[in-house]
Symmetry: C2
Subunit: 440 residues, 2 copies
């Protein structure tokens, strides 16, 4: 065997600590896979004194990750510092500039600076590996880059945020509100004290931006993503979804449309019998629609120290072989700059829940506005029965009632315009709930 790949690990949280433990435990397998031994030489973290359950003295210690990246005894820097800018960015830039390989789990960094960093890596002939940045232990990056050259991908969608899926799963199974489930998720450590980043869809958007670029061979374009979170989802929506044969998931969706690449993150009605609908709790999943394989779905752990570390270690082994691919699986020069498909031109089915005044002609008025906007309705459901009565404060007779519409494919623009008119007509008592439908 040739000389070992010398690794420096910047950031010793649960993932970093797990990487060190796994590289020890799976020493031989990793060496086999990588074609040479992998040896952790240096580490960097905020607190040197914290007990991490293993002996730090075997490694060179750096107070600064950037200094670790500069160290002559490191060939490959594992960046687990986090954050889109600051130290993480400086560490990765420093390492790549020196021609050192980088393995990172940092989706925020890549969503923002991925293109620039990929260019730097390409110039310097260094690897920039990032399997751990999306969907934890699921080998989705490897699959997109290496397993599908025969395919033209038409769509990709996934459950990319465990926190949201945990909350939606519990809301559905236990009939709880968003606020109740969020509190529980925070107590169990599945959600941050400030949950905005997760529950409003930004984390999913970062990951989607990376997957989109790999699926379509396009430049990362995180700013183009339409983002909507799950905080407006009510138990009533989940109950209606069930009745209509759907389940609600926060999906990241990237799709090649006539107008360009559409990227969107929003709560989504998916058919209850689809593979992705079965994915409950903190688990992640990604489905790829492509011409040769038709449909491919990968389901697995989206987070957690060991699962994320599993992806990091796989990347390290790939780097060790020297066969790690360029960031996008192709040279930067060959990336498409695909036109952005604006959300207004999105076309699909819609679930629309209106809280309407309970008086004659309201349903007719709503249906007329829909027809005027050329929107065909697959079903209309007016409910004052069990679901509405028990779970909607407005379910009592005389008060506003729920009117649920399922549309056939319509454009976002036409839906928005119809809803504006319905609102102007004074037919609804509350802002409408709109949830897009994604069919298999």
């Amino acid at each position: 065997m040739t000389r070992p790949l010398r690794v420096g690990i910047a950031g010793l949280g649960t993932v970093g600590a797990s990487v060190i433990r796994i590289l020890e435990r799976q020493n031989e397998v990793v060496a086999q896979r990588g074609g040479r031994p992998v040896q952790v030489m240096a580490i960097s973290a905020r607190d040197k004194t914290k007990d991490r359950g293993f002996d730090l003295s075997r490694f060179s210690w750096f107070d600064s990750p950037v200094e670790l990246a500069r160290s002559a005894e490191v060939d490959c820097v594992v960046e687990l510092v986090g954050g889109a800018d600051g130290t993480a960015l400086e560490t990765v830039q420093t390492a790549l500039s020196l021609g050192k390989h980088v393995v990172t789990a940092n989706k925020a960094l890549l969503a923002k600076h991925g293109l620039m960093l990929a260019r730097l890596a390409e110039e310097k002939g260094a690897s920039l590996a990032f399997e751990a940045s999306v969907a934890g232990g699921i080998p989705i990056i490897k699959t997109l880059r290496e397993a599908l050259p025969a395919n033209r991908i038409s769509r990709l969608y996934g459950i990319l945020n465990g926190t949201c899926n945990y909350i939606l799963s519990r809301m559905e199974l236990e009939g709880l509100t968003f606020a109740e489930c969020l509190k529980d998720a925070q107590r169990l450590g599945y959600a941050e004290a400030d949950p905005t980043f997760d529950v409003e869809g930004f984390d999913t958007a970062h990951k989607l931006a990376i997957l989109t670029s790999l699926a379509f061979g396009t430049e990362i374009d995180a700013d183009a993503i339409y983002v909507e979170g799950i905080s407006s989802i009510t138990p009533l929506d989940l109950a209606m979804a069930k009745e209509l044969g759907f389940r609600i998931k926060l999906l990241g969706v990237a799709e090649r449309t006539k107008t360009g690449i559409e990227q969107r993150v929003h709560p989504t009605m998916v058919p209850r019998t689809s593979s992705i609908a079965q994915v409950m709790g903190v688990t992640n999943a990604v489905t790829i629609d492509a011409d040769a394989v038709r449909e491919l779905t990968l389901i697995g752990p989206g987070a957690g120290g060991d699962a994320t570390a599993s992806a990091v270690v796989a990347d390290i082994a790939d780097v060790a072989t020297g066969a790690a691919l360029p960031f996008f699986g192709r040279s930067i020069e060959l990336l498409e700059r695909a036109p952005r498909a604006p959300m207004q031109r999105h076309e699909g089915g819609y679930y629309i829940r209106l809280t309407v005044h309970d008086r004659p002609g309201v349903a007719a008025g709503v249906a007329t506005r829909m027809a005027e906007a050329d929107i065909s309705l697959e079903s209309i459901l007016q409910k004052r029965s069990e679901i509405a009565a028990t779970q909607d404060p407005h379910g009592r007779s005389g008060a506003p009632v729920s009117l649920v519409l399922i549309t056939y494919a319509a454009t976002e623009a036409s839906i928005r315009s119809a809803l504006e008119k319905i609102s102007g007509d004074g037919l609804i008592a509350e802002p409408p709930q709109v949830i897009r439908i994604e069919r298999e």
Copy 2:
């Protein structure tokens, strides 16, 4: 770019023809992925005159695949001839002996001669790639060999035969018998005229043998696999499964147990809420249980020209890069020869459906024999109701009735011994139905 990888394709059925079309259509992407152009130079098939929808005259024609393998204008032979021996074997041996790379979709060949061929490839420094041999378009080989070096795999199970899954799905959804569904599958081209190889589990066993060796780093040992097919499954079993919260799938299972590596193929009760239970029709799926990623499931097309060709083309691109791994992801020298865990020592839950005489004391007699064999029962279900009455010819009162037992973990040996005694006691009117339970 360096000089092209020159490919020869032996076998021009649906897969071979699709490989040629895809290599044309995805020309640039494959070249990017492989780091150099891929060019089909030569072809071989049984019938030169058959219209395949493209111009054969661009390629050198060989009547014999073995001659194609010898051709100086071919660097990489794609073997799509099929069969465990004969021409396929000779073609692959010839190519590898000359140091040429081989891409194959031939699971029968690999299950029987994989170790020998891998050794030959290793000696000659040639690649032997086989993604298409298991689960069609699902990148399960790449996942096992490249994505999981951080993991110690404890179990792997999968739906590896589309024909069986199609038949079981239709039996369940439409309440049909095995024979009825088989006939339909044959009519639709999902099953062969002689379906034995598929429905009796042998095809699944070939694929399992390959996956087992990759998952556990062991020599391929197809002879060690316990094999049972689906022809004995009745609509009553499917209905009982539903009532008990299960679904029946033909699984290939490989598991590391105290006694060694257990490999088995049999109809299996899986929890209805599991990812694998959702996989219906001809679709395949594989779940991997491992220490770092916990559970990883891949779902996709198990067969079909384009899906299988997708895997072949991915392999060709890997061969082109020069980074294709050794067959087992490690040198032959490092393979374990793990002890076989005999089926009699298999431990797990069991579904046992007995057709018992409808007289006092029978249930007690059965339960006593189970207790004597140290088998704990999770539930006992005696049914003369809807299911039995409508779907079991013996459901009428006075005649034999169905008694279904679900056991906690018990050994195969103890189950077999208890059933023998129950039979000896004259308690049952028909041979018992035994279906193993696989929990997540």
